[in-house]
Symmetry: C2
Subunit: 305 residues, 2 copies
Amino acid sequence: MRRCQRCGQKAVVYLPQHRLSLCKEHYIEWYLKRVESTIREFKMFGKGDRVLVAVSGGKDSLSLWDALQRLGYRVEGLYIDLGIGEYSQRSRLACERFARERGLELYVLELRKEIATIPEIKEVESRPACSFCGQLKRYYMNRFAREKGYHVIATGHNLDDESATLLSNVLSWNMGYLSRQFPVLLEGDGFVRKVKPLVKFTEKENALYAFLSDIEYVEEECPFSEGASSIEYKRILSQIEEKSPGTKLRFYMDFLRRLHSLLRSEEVNLRPCRVCGEPTSAEVCSVCRLRERLSSRLLSSSPSS
Amino acid sequence: MRRCQRCGQKAVVYLPQHRLSLCKEHYIEWYLKRVESTIREFKMFGKGDRVLVAVSGGKDSLSLWDALQRLGYRVEGLYIDLGIGEYSQRSRLACERFARERGLELYVLELRKEIATIPEIKEVESRPACSFCGQLKRYYMNRFAREKGYHVIATGHNLDDESATLLSNVLSWNMGYLSRQFPVLLEGDGFVRKVKPLVKFTEKENALYAFLSDIEYVEEECPFSEGASSIEYKRILSQIEEKSPGTKLRFYMDFLRRLHSLLRSEEVNLRPCRVCGEPTSAEVCSVCRLRERLSSRLLSSSPSS
């Protein structure tokens, strides 16, 4: 039986990449300290900032919200209801219950009212759903945070997400994406600062924190995510991780420390979208162009045509 | 049935990453042109240079020797006999037969006479065999080429080798190794220029060239290479390649084009080894230190001790 390296009680977890065994209490303590030190290391935000955490109902974002609140940050939640049938309903309920039980403020933004649900858009768009869904979430999250006066948007991206994205960007040496892959994206040009305080935790570590903190999260994956290439890269990195524990963390952190600073981020000239006023590099932003495509498709498929 | 895209005859090969079907004759033509264009692209050497090709008896190095000779370069071979039992004997015979049948000059250097065989060294060294074997081959190859007045050493490293090494260096962001990973290492400080003209070909492409050119090569892998981490990385890249043909070539070539130039190669201060005079960054070079360890181990295990 493994024992907690802090107190000698029975351990509930062994973290091979850190060679660390911990009991429930000391795991939560370790996790919270590590969230705090990540926030400080990357100068993400301070105790005076108003933080909006983007929650999906899953283990990562609810653990983030929980941890930020326990660490004494001013944090409120935003749930974007994507309208993906029962999956969205269950996710929304998990977020609402989490907020209610803790007396926290949760905002809900319904994509249906803003543009259309993801399944409706999927009917007319040929791109993978993850592509336009991510775009829409970033757009509405940013607009909401800016309009409500938040200083920071925090998302629950974890080490598995970030290292898989890194592997994908490295395999094609996409220098633009690589130069923007950082756990902090600074504010400016109509964008609210965006931060990822959980980048040093694997999915499993977040799931364990959620479990030990009595967070009821939705385990179900989005039904549209199946076959995404990020899943393949996560699988590959997990294979390597199993043989060499610590590879994922080293791959991602050493990228930030050793390579990222060498990459010049290209200047992107942003201006307000002619239609909605949100920042864009084109004349009309991608969300307004998507909205245009949706209305022309709906018109052309209406019974009178 | 696929047809050759050059002449319409029955194709013997389909190259998914190039979307190319070719017959025997046009595959050999395509291969030779690609070797030539790689030599030019990286300014490896010219028709006047004396080239020494390091041959192991395998498909890659014998295909390289064959191609360089057919392209009209001044090329001779060097086989380093590592003394690995029947594996070395068969490899040596394959090189000797290849040279004899084509009337080419082959030099043989026996590691046994220079220092000790690989199995003998393995008995006393705790490092993986590939580590000291590579070191010894580079040392003796360089000394031989310099003493005999060759301008260039060419090795048969292929795309699978180079992309697996790249993946390994990227996963740990080993900036020193990354800055030196290039198909040409320039001469200087006692080092002869080293080039890898086959970096754009996969193992399979080299094997096919060898087969179609009637080169009798040894298929057997070195018995000491088992479990090497490079084999694991090759397997992973082949998994990705199967789903997305062209990934390996893009990963390697775009690294050279987009990232390599951003990496500063650290200055390494070289001086002649105090014992043998070969270039080294230490006072005594690693091969002389290995030789010292070998003699002290032999002394300590001799019957009189």
